[in-house]
Symmetry: C3
Subunit: 208 residues, 3 copies
Amino acid sequence: MGFSFIPKDSNFFVLFNKQAQFAVTAASMFAQQTSRGPFDAESVSKMRDIEHQADEVAHEIMNRLNKTFITPFDREDIHSLACAMDDVIDMIYTITNRMYVYKIKNVDQDLIEFAVIIEKSVRALAKAIEGLQNTKNPQCALDSCIEVNRLENVGDTMRDNILGKLFETSTDPIHLVKWKEIYQFAETVLDMCEDVAHVVESIFVKQA
Amino acid sequence: MGFSFIPKDSNFFVLFNKQAQFAVTAASMFAQQTSRGPFDAESVSKMRDIEHQADEVAHEIMNRLNKTFITPFDREDIHSLACAMDDVIDMIYTITNRMYVYKIKNVDQDLIEFAVIIEKSVRALAKAIEGLQNTKNPQCALDSCIEVNRLENVGDTMRDNILGKLFETSTDPIHLVKWKEIYQFAETVLDMCEDVAHVVESIFVKQA
Amino acid sequence: MGFSFIPKDSNFFVLFNKQAQFAVTAASMFAQQTSRGPFDAESVSKMRDIEHQADEVAHEIMNRLNKTFITPFDREDIHSLACAMDDVIDMIYTITNRMYVYKIKNVDQDLIEFAVIIEKSVRALAKAIEGLQNTKNPQCALDSCIEVNRLENVGDTMRDNILGKLFETSTDPIHLVKWKEIYQFAETVLDMCEDVAHVVESIFVKQA
């Protein structure tokens, strides 16, 4: 457990904000690609770069954690937060890459809307993580967490509607298999954002 | 780690039993729906209500955990137990909802049998969790855990047989994609029940 | 946390090496079956035996962990390592079994190559785990971890190329659904190997 009565080590906060910024970059790039296209080798390679850089930040957090005795909040929360944020970024890369592997030419309106929700959710996460340092006024961070949870519910309903439509109207099973997976990945990003929000919430609960 | 030589806090037990009861309600409602149908908007909404209420119990357990210094057993086991039970209930809701999204009209005999196994497994879990408080006589709880493990193996074999049949006889790939997923979800419920049983077993091992 | 300044309990090392040997046996049996076939009931049953025996080793590690106060490295790392290795072996069994359930007659060259990568990765893991005891000279174990990470990247690219080819050329959607799953499982084995390598790396980082 952390010792919150001891001067905080600000470096973890810097690293978490850095990681959150990579998530925002990935999510906004994904939203741009869905609305303007294309999912070509170059866009996948750009997204891979972001994913790699974010990965290095995650590694830095873990290394620092393993070598630091006093941490600004619970060790297991630092570990969970870094992993959960990393999962978000990995998943955005995975969708981007899969769109390219499946040689998808026409992105439909539903995915464009989904990408907007994902970007909103990741931006709310970044705000929540920024708020971690401000333990005297947790309300702003907690409101962002509530927003992330709300967007996950929105995404659930969207995915259900889209899957229902896909299975009702699709006559090409191979097309269906591709898009079923893409929408499930999209919804998984929102689930992973929610996991991050849960870690942030639990950090505040422990400090209350 | 918990301090088992200190008077137990009974409230965690009350909450875990409450959570287990929601799991039993969900599993028995699912078994009824598979045998009698239909998977309509109303049945999904009822299942969602149960899932939401169970979710609140899980949150209560987490909040209490974060604010309690002395716990009746290891902190990480309390966390794992609440999450693992929550996963079981979430997954039963997910199948119910997916059946509705896929507009499945005719439930075949295999799923009805699977739902019976799921209900048996969840009832065994509820018994195991009830037994957590009775640390002097763990045998009844441990027997329930063994039953949960046995049912998971039964489910594995059922899923393999059903998938084999599905891929051998199915000529409609879209039908196949739907049912492949439903049976995998059904087997996943049993995997998740096994995860709960493992946590219960490890709690008893530590107290032995 | 472990107390690394206290004489090590060598039994955990013996058990981890035992578990790693079962993984090597499973991976090499899988590589043989892909190259020579067949995936029949007998080969599944042999693989299940290995999986069961490895499972018992994992249980032994957990039981010992629950009853041991002083451990050679962090308790949570012992737990993670045993679980992560168990996941690798389970997944190799799952692919073997699924090949049999899907009644796959002709294994193509791509899977044969994938199985070779899997065997290499598991053998590198076994070396890394062997090196855990040699804390004065971690380089050999760490080099093996780097090799596991490298092979995971190789597998990622292979899966992408294979999926791309599959979706571009396949005209039989049921065939596509089977093979999409098999290649994803194959890549998942490499992901799980990477998870093991991460645990090993973090054990060394803490001891540095």
